[in-house]
């Protein structure tokens, strides 16, 4: 046969929609920006430090783990960067540097890499890390105490702890409109619900997160809070307060939707999200923690493999011997 020309030989299909892990993660990071920038502006240089340290240490741990385990370097997929950013956004601005470093270590190495890296983790890495830290050093996550040296021009209270300690009587301090615009204190990235909403809706429109999980999570949370409030308005806050405070929106768009620890089938995604929303309120209203989001997510992560077994019959498969 005539002159040899090297052609690329590979397998069908020869088209791809162009999506990739790094594009997905970059879009997630972009979507987090409004809330992250708001937090940095509000809390100043310490917040910037925490965010920068979070991202860089997470990437460094990923890189070191790649080296030690002799795997290809994966920092280029921005997954570690996203983990670092999310972690930083979940802690208060004055968090000591070593807590941030331990946190990203736990998230990247214990939360993700020891399961074989991306796609293998049964728990959301950031949530797992936060849970370990909250149990070990609860003092760093009490935003009221951590931010005691700050002066704000609004009532400087974290809504959920106030609720926990004073009951719904504390509610006159807050209204949903102020909360959504960021007049509350809390972790760096959770105090600006409007920014989180904008980023989250962007991700849903672009198809980068599982909207089914987000929508059912919010629905489950709102419904549960509504019924608690209905049953006892004196001790339980209404759904809007819950929706716009604590980690709720950060969780709805960025944490419960984490791919590896959440279902892929339609009905399971709905059950998973709704159960998560329900558990958040249950822990907030009945449990000892002011914000139940972290533990609620760990619980649904645990149930995920079970829930995701509900799936439609494959083509050609019929009900037994029919």
């Amino acid at each position: 046969m005539a002159k040899r020309l090297k052609l690329i030989v590979s397998h069908a299909p020869f088209w791809h929609d162009g999506g990739s892990i790094s594009k997905m993660n970059l879009n997630m990071i972009l979507a987090l920006m409004p809330a992250a920038i708001f937090g940095i502006v509000r809390f100043g240089v310490p917040a910037l430090g925490v965010v920068a340290l979070g991202i860089s240490s997470a990437m460094l741990f990923e890189f070191l783990f790649n080296l030690v385990s002799r795997k290809p370097v994966t920092t280029g997929d921005f997954d570690a960067a996203l983990i670092g950013l999310l972690f930083a956004m979940m802690v208060p601005a004055p968090t000591p540097w070593w807590v941030v470093v331990i946190g990203t270590f736990l998230a990247v190495v214990i939360g993700k890499q020891i399961y074989g890296g991306i796609g293998g983790n049964p728990f959301n890495p950031v949530v797992l890390s936060m849970a370990i830290l909250m149990v070990s050093w609860p003092v760093f996550f009490d935003a009221d105490a951590a931010l005691v040296n700050y002066r704000f021009d609004f009532k400087a209270l974290a809504p959920l702890p106030a609720l926990k300690h004073q009951g719904a009587g504390a509610l006159y301090h807050f209204n949903a409109g102020d909360l959504i615009m960021g007049d509350q204190i809390g972790s760096i990235g959770s105090i600006f619900p409007l920014g989180l909403l904008i980023g989250g809706i962007y991700l849903i429109v672009r198809g980068y997160i599982k909207w089914e999980v987000t929508v059912s999570f919010i629905a489950g949370l709102v419904a549960t809070a509504f019924f608690f409030n209905l049953a006892n308005p004196d001790s339980f806050a209404g759904p809007m307060i819950h929706l716009f405070s604590g980690y709720t929106l950060l969780a709805a768009f960025f944490l419960v939707t984490e791919n590896s620890s959440s279902p892929v089938n339609f009905v399971p995604m709905l059950i998973y999200g709704a159960l998560g929303g329900f558990l958040v309120i249950l822990i907030r209203n009945v449990g000892v923690y002011p914000d139940g989001t972290i533990f609620a997510i760990l619980l649904i992560n645990l149930l995920n493999p079970l829930i995701d077994t509900i799936r439609p019959k494959a083509l050609g498969r019929r009900v037994n011997n029919a």
Partner: protein, 433 residues
């Protein structure tokens, strides 16, 4: 190539292109002076061969590699066999190619059968013996073997994969011939039901009386046989079974016309219509003789192929990439697509990240995310029993949307191939033991 749209929440849709090539005749390529003929049979030195290099062949002569071979080719030109070599296919399957160089030598002492004399009386037997390699690759072996079990023949007037307008050309432009062909086919097979797939844009549909018209209006993979079985015939094909097992046989419109012409003219035709798409997406239909090297096709159309380009045969979703420009135009070749080296999207070695894109798009409800983990671990039986490997209709859409860019479709086809081999081995063992 169709990229993800900004609105990613909607699942991506690969629309079939309904633009008609109406009226435009395919560009006729010159007859080549040397042809490459492919046979789906490996070289085997232990068998008694019937041809060797240096043999003279006549035009329309039927060539078998070995005694007792079932596969044959028919030479479109008179000439000399100048080489017989192995041809590597997918998944390690090996075929054989013959090169025939044109010459005017008349061969003496002829004993071999000639196609022309045998086409006098149309019958399924003759069709199987002489017309399997007609343009469009009609499945006459299936019809001859399973004739009585086949209750429906579906004539595809619409190309199943994207970027091909070959079958549509025959449906729209040669309708009278197609109808005549269908009549001959009915006489041959006595199959009770005949259906035709028709694009929604073909307005003038009468003339197919007594046949079910299957209107293809949406997006890929609607025109794939297994989707037609489900949507238009309401037949469930159990995992591991084929359409033929369920009594349905698909034949391309081109093959039906080629058969009718062969019986009418008492000589087989070798003119294959192929849709060729260049690097810039410009599309042309050509008519080339079976056996023509694709390098000649590109020369005729002024398409330059550079190092590391990709040449795709039979569609972007289901086709294959050839390693050589000497690959010939084949009876089953409906389209050729040239992809520039810069347009090739690379696959990755990432694991599944569980994003769920494949689950959303799979028309067969296959748990691709779980399946791929078994396939990566070579657990083929597990994959088939618990994760529905055999229900896959081979549309390739899961690979198309995979965020981790896993070659899912490759794993799936390989898995099915391995299962087939395991089954074949088990059967031989049973027979021997």
């Amino acid at each position: 190539m169709i990229k993800r749209s900004f609105l990613g929440v909607k699942k991506p849709v690969l629309k079939y292109d309904f633009v008609e090539s109406e009226g435009k005749e395919p560009e006729q390529l010159p007859r080549p002076s040397s042809v490459v003929l492919l046979l789906d049979e490996p070289l085997d030195s232990t068998r008694i061969n019937l041809v060797k290099t240096g043999d003279q062949v006549r035009e329309n002569e039927k060539i078998y590699l070995y005694k007792n071979s079932r596969e044959y080719v028919i030479s479109p030109i008179q000439g000399e066999i100048t080489s017989i070599e192995s041809y590597p296919g997918e998944f390690g399957d090996i075929g054989t190619y013959l090169v025939v160089e044109k010459s005017d030598h008349e061969r003496s002492g002829d004993t071999k059968t000639d196609v022309v004399e045998s086409l006098a009386g149309p019958s399924l037997d003759t069709a199987e013996k002489y017309l399997k390699t007609l343009p469009g690759a009609p499945p006459f072996d299936v019809l001859a073997e399973k004739g009585s079990d086949i209750h429906t023949i579906v004539i595809t007037g619409f190309d199943p994969d994207l970027m091909a307008t070959t079958r549509r050309y025959f449906l729209s432009n040669l309708k009278e011939e197609l109808k005549e062909g269908i009549r001959v086919l009915k006489d041959l097979t006595h199959v009770p039901k005949v259906a035709v797939t028709v694009p929604e844009t073909v307005e003038d549909r009468p003339g197919f009386e007594g046949m079910q018209l299957m209107i293809i209006s949406g997006a890929y993979p609607e025109a794939l046989p297994l989707m037609i079985m489900k949507n238009h015939l309401n037949i469930t094909v159990p995992p591991g079974k084929s359409c033929v097992d369920m009594g349905v046989c698909f034949i391309s419109a081109e093959a039906v016309i080629a058969m009718a012409r062969a019986f009418r003219d008492k000589t087989p035709s070798f003119e294959k219509v192929v849709t060729v798409t260049g690097k810039d997406g410009s599309r042309k239909t050509i008519k080339a003789m079976i056996g023509t090297r694709i390098s000649e096709v590109f020369k005729a159309l002024n398409i330059n192929i550079n190092e590391n380009d990709r040449v795709i045969i039979n569609g972007p979703m289901q086709g294959f990439a050839t390693f050589t420009l000497s690959h010939p135009v084949q009876p089953s070749m409906d389209s050729i697509i040239v992809q520039d080296v810069d347009d090739i999207q690379h696959i990755s070695d990432y694991p599944c990240i569980n994003c769920g894109n494949c689950i959303k798009i799979c028309p067969a409800n296959i748990p691709v995310n779980l399946l791929v983990r078994r396939l990566e671990a070579n657990m083929f039986e597990d994959a088939a029993e618990k994760f529905d490997l055999q229900s896959c209709i081979e549309c390739g859409l899961c690979s198309y949307v995979c965020t981790a860019r896993i070659p899912l479709f490759q794993y799936i086809r390989l898995g099915k191939h391995e299962l087939l081999q395991m089954k074949a081995e088990a059967e031989t063992e049973e027979r021997n033991g």
